[in-house]
């Protein structure tokens, strides 16, 4: 007899924590079957590849929590990378440290500005976020190509020094973490604490859960909407910027598949497409799971093509699962416990 889930239910618990279970499953399978998978160096690689999309996904998750959508994060991360290198090169007469700082600051400012425009158009002009961010995605892509249509690279030894710093494990005791990985993880954890443990953070959930409730409670729903988009732009640019520094270059096709991975991870991580529910930390674990999977696949010499297919399938699978779960839930909503009990009693006799 199907029953509506309750807090005590094991199914409910599993669903809440599914991402940890899936991650452990993938990790174990790869550890057992994938050749040369287990090893600190490889784990560092996995974490490194996680850093970009985990950072970008912070914003996407937050935007989904407030019940909106941001398709422009992929373009924004490319812009972040291109601007970081581009402006660093523009200021090359300045000392490298200064030039890098300016590059990063301008990239982050540009990302935040994109988010601000998205947010204003959604909250104030009341245009659907699908339209706004789809348009913005195209606009930003155009802007990037207008700015440069080649991959930019830094050239001086000082640049490579910074790049090396970003990619080297900086503590012998924790060999897993490089500065870039640490920046990503700290960003995620910081946002998680902000969202889960402060009044300010909880207000995002309230706005996403029910805009009217939030507005009637005196929360400035528009402000939270705009802020969520600004965060999304900022973190997308941050992700791109950090990759650019680490690689000392900004490939134009950076982040081509980011949107897919970010969307997939956010939804696998349990963020609700209906708003009001979600966790940036779980999203990060979902990115980690996907990257672990890809890394393991690499051991079997599987090409990028298959990875696109696989992640598409995973996203499709999760969306179907979610849809089916809601579909079932709707059908059982309103069942009366005493009637179910009566039925069971009837069966027994």
């Amino acid at each position: 007899m199907p029953k509506l889930d309750s807090k005590q239910n094991a199914v409910y618990w599993i669903d809440r924590n599914r991402i940890y279970i899936i991650f452990l499953g993938v990790f174990l399978v790869m550890s057992i079957f994938a050749p040369n998978f287990v090893g600190l160096r490889n784990f560092t690689n996995i974490l490194r590849s996680m850093s970009l999309n985990a950072t970008v996904a912070i914003g996407f998750t937050l935007v989904l929590i407030i019940h909106q959508l941001d398709l422009s994060v992929g373009s924004t991360l490319s812009l972040g990378a291109v601007f970081t290198i581009g402006f660093r090169l523009m200021f090359s007469e300045l000392p490298p440290g200064m030039a890098w700082t300016l590059g990063v600051v301008i990239a982050l400012a540009a990302g935040s500005l994109i988010g601000l425009i998205n947010g204003l158009l959604v909250a104030k002009a009341k245009i659907h976020s699908f339209i706004v961010t789809l348009g913005m995605m195209i606009i930003v892509q155009g802007v990037i190509y207008m700015y440069t249509d080649v991959s930019l690279s830094a050239t001086t030894p000082a640049d490579f020094a910074l790049s090396d710093f970003m990619r080297m494990p900086f503590l012998d005791s924790i060999r897993l973490l490089t500065p870039r990985i640490l920046i990503a993880i700290l960003s995620v954890v910081g946002m998680e604490v902000l969202l889960k443990r402060t009044r300010f953070g909880r207000n995002f959930y309230m706005v996403g859960g029910n805009r009217d409730t939030a507005w009637l409670a005196g929360l400035k729903a528009d402000t939270y909407t705009i802020l969520a988009f600004v965060f999304a732009g900022f973190f997308a640019a941050l992700g791109g910027s950090m990759v650019a520094i680490e690689m000392s270059s900004s490939p134009v096709d950076l982040g081509v598949n980011s949107l897919l991975i970010v969307v997939a991870a956010t939804i696998i991580g349990g963020t609700s497409m209906m708003g009001g529910k979600g966790s940036v930390f779980k999203t990060m674990i979902a990115v980690l799971m996907l990257e672990t999977l890809f890394n393991g696949m690499n051991r079997f010499n599987v090409g990028t093509e298959f990875k696109i297919f696989a992640s598409g399938m995973i996203l499709a699978g999760v969306v179907l699962y979610e849809a089916y779960y809601i579909y079932k839930h709707e059908q059982l909503k309103g069942q009366r416990a005493e009637l179910l009990k009566e039925l069971e009693d009837g069966r027994k006799t």
Binding site: V122, K126, I127, M136, I139, M274
Partner: protein, 360 residues
């Protein structure tokens, strides 16, 4: 996303209280005039914009813009987009935003069509279209039946089909003449000429097909059971279901139509480019949505028609043409198009709101 992403503040969005009891004398005095201008913008906006663009073109370039050759150019440039947009329009009309899986469906149908050239033109085109049916049925089941989020779902499908294309053909392009093989050159030529058939000497077959498609789609949308039920479903899925409409089937059909026209467009694109490539169809998702939305369909569904969408396609074509004549590069054109896209939606939404139909 559900369709209430952009509502006005809660209180204002409630339906204005009406006129109380009809049996009592109707208090006509409480009614205010609705602005005729807003109603008008809402109905004919897109063709006004098209005419404005033509005027701008004439003023800037005179005869080099305003001649039949240039107009045929514009027409040629937008026919493929038009075909795809007609399909997407059904999805938008059904209240499910857009179908983001059309670009990769186009690429896939193109590959399949070329692969099957040796079996003859009919099989090539037929099987190419079958790709559309396949993708469409999957979308129909996921979104129509299980109510998966259409944006996220079709995005996932886009990557699945893209993955299939790139994985199966290993990122390689394929060519009709090579696939047809020696002795079958006529088949390869037939496929390549598919796009290039001209009737009355100058009108491309694709234009004829587009016109036929538009007429058929307009008829389907406005004058059939399916179209009427799609309108109710687009306005509210639950209401449709409780009005005896098989809403999941109706929505599914909309997605099927979208995939089918995408597959058709894909075959023509492949014929035009003489090559099957994974990048065929790129950008058609955004362009089709732009045309549909500029054409007056609102994301909330049940509003607008195919004639408007055709207007939207013309607007995009004219805009591109004028910008090209002005010497603006394609990237800047994309930026401009993005801005126009958002602006038009804003104007449309605003005029609807002024009309008290604040739902766009």
């Amino acid at each position: 996303m559900p369709d209430d992403l952009n509502q006005q503040q809660p209180a204002q969005q409630n339906s204005p209280p009406g006129q109380g009891n009809a049996a009592a004398a109707p208090p006509v005095s409480r009614e205010l005039k609705q602005s005729g201008l807003n109603l008008w913008i809402n109905r004919f906006g897109v063709y006004v914009v098209a005419i404005l663009f033509i005027l701008v073109g004439i003023i800037l370039f005179g005869g080099s813009f305003f001649n039949s050759k240039n107009f045929l150019n514009i027409l040629d440039a937008v026919t493929l987009l038009g075909m795809a947009a007609v399909g997407v329009a059904f999805v938008t009309y059904s209240g499910h935003f857009a179908d983001l899986s059309i670009p990769t469906t186009m690429a896939l149908s193109g590959y399949i069509a070329i692969e099957l050239i040796p079996l003859g033109m009919f099989m090539s085109i037929f099987t190419g279209l079958l790709v559309g049916v396949g993708v469409g049925l999957v979308n129909a089941f996921a979104v129509g039946k299980l109510r998966a989020n259409p944006i996220i779902w079709t995005l996932a499908m886009a990557y699945v089909t893209k993955g299939v294309v790139r994985w199966v053909w290993l990122n390689k392009q394929i060519y009709p003449d090579i696939k047809a093989g020696i002795g079958n050159e006529h088949l390869a030529d037939a496929f390549i000429n598919l796009y290039r058939i001209r009737i009355f000497g100058s009108i491309s077959i694709t234009v004829i097909i587009l016109i036929a498609l538009v007429i058929a789609a307009q008829f389907l949308l406005k004058r059939t059971k399916f179209g009427q039920q799609l309108k109710v479903t687009g306005s509210s899925y639950d209401v449709a279901r409780l009005s005896g409409i098989k809403a999941s089937r109706v929505v599914g059909t909309a997605f099927l139509i979208s995939s089918l026209t995408a597959a058709l467009t894909g075959i023509f694109i492949t014929s035009l480019g003489k090559v099957g490539a994974y990048y065929n169809g790129e950008g058609y998702d955004f362009n089709a949505v732009t045309a549909v939305v500029i054409g007056g369909m609102t994301l909330n569904g049940g509003r607008g028609d195919i004639i408007g969408v055709l207007g939207g396609v013309f607007v995009i074509g004219l805009m591109r043409n004028i910008m090209t004549l002005m010497g603006i590069d394609t990237f800047s054109q994309t930026v401009v198009q993005g801005i126009v896209f958002i602006t038009v939606v804003y104007i449309n939404a605003r005029s609807l709101r002024k009309l008290g139909r604040d739902d766009a």
